[in-house]
C-alpha cells in the first residue's frame, strides 16, 4: 500500500532502468517492512532540465545529474524506525537495480492513514482492521 512516485531527470535513465526502478521500489517494501510483494503501486515521472531543480550539495551530499526525488504515501501508523528502515532499503535497492548513488536519492514519506486507501471497487479495505502495510 505504500505508493511510490519517483521523479527522475529526463534522458538519464533507460526504459530498462525505469522498469528496474519500479521493481526496486516495490522490493524495498518487502525487505524493509515485510509487505507482500503483490502490493505494487509505483509511478515514475520524467522532468526536463527546466522542470527539476535539486541542489547539488545541500546537507553535504554529492549529487549528480541523475538525482531524483522519491515520494511515498506510507501508512500513518509507521514509527520512525520503520521509516528509517524503508529509506535505507530504498537506497540499497535502487543502487543494486539501476546503479543510483544513494547521494542522489531524496525521499519524502507522506503519512496517510489506512482508512484513506482503496485498492479498488471504491472500498476502504483496511479501514476496520488493525494498522498494517
Amino acid at each position: 500500500m505504500p505508493v511510490f512516485h519517483a521523479h527522475i531527470p529526463k534522458g538519464q535513465y533507460s526504459r530498462e532502468q525505469k522498469i528496474a526502478i519500479g521493481n526496486a521500489l516495490n522490493r524495498s517494501l518487502v525487505v524493509a517492512l515485510n509487505i507482500p510483494a503483490g502490493d505494487r503501486f509505483v509511478m515514475i515521472s520524467e522532468h526536463g532540465d527546466d522542470e527539476l531543480f535539486i541542489d547539488p550539495t545541500f546537507m553535504d551530499m554529492k549529487r549528480s545529474s541523475k538525482a531524483m526525488i522519491v515520494t511515498v504515501l506510507v501508512g500513518a501508523h509507521r514509527p520512525a524506525s520503520d521509516k528509517s528502515a524503508l529509506m535505507a532499503e530504498i537506497c540499497r535497492q535502487l543502487e543494486a537495480a539501476a546503479d543510483v548513488s544513494s547521494d542522489d536519492i531524496f525521499i519524502a514519506l507522506v503519512p496517510v492513514p489506512n482508512e484513506s486507501f482503496s485498492f479498488g471497487r471504491g472500498i476502504a479495505q483496511l479501514a476496520d482492521k488493525s494498522p498494517q502495510w
Copy 2:
C-alpha cells in the same frame, strides 16, 4: 478544495475520456460530500508502460491495462464515513463517464488541514472558518 490527481496509463484514454475523467472526479465531490461544483481542481498525468506499475490482482481485484492511481488532497477534518462515500462515488462517476472498471481504480486520500489551502492571492481562505470542503 479536495484536489485530484489521476495517474493514468498513456494511450489508454482519449482526449474526450480524459476530459470526462476530470468532470467525473469533480462531480464525485458534489454528490458524495455536497461540495460546490465550482470547487474544481483536477490534474491528470499520463505514464508510459515503463512508468506505471500496478499489480494486476493484489487484494483480489481484476485489474486491466487501464488501471489508474487517483490521489486526492482532502480536508483533514473528514471522518472515515466521508472518505468511504467519496471513494465509492469516484468509482461510480468514473465508470459512468469513461467506462472505467471499479477494479481499476486505486485511491489514496491524503489528509490536509483547511488552513493549508490557498485558492489564490496567497491567502489561506479557510484558515479561520469551521472546517468545510
Copy 3:
C-alpha cells in the same frame, strides 16, 4: 526541505519562465521561513488542456489560462502563521519572476513530519533534531 511541485498548463510558460518559477519557489522559503537557499528541491509538471482543470472563478478569483496548482511538502511542525507567510511569499515571488497573477496560484501545503525526509544516503537527517525547515 519543503519540496515544491508546480503543475502548470502546457505551452503557457517558456523554458526561461519555468526556470524562473523554480528559482522563485526556492526563494519564497528563504524570505518567508528563513530557510537556507541551498534547500532547493523543486519539480514542475506540464499538463495539456485535457489534463488540468481549474475553475476560472471559484472563491471570487479571476483565473486565466496560465493558472497553476502548487503543492508543497512542508514540515508538519509549522504553525498556521508560517503557512500564511509562505503562501503570500510564493505569490510575490512568482509574480516577480514569471509575471504570474496571484489569482492564478492555487496552493496546497501538505504537512510531513521531519523524520519523514531523507536528503540522501537513506538517512532521516532531521529525525532526532528539534523541528526545523
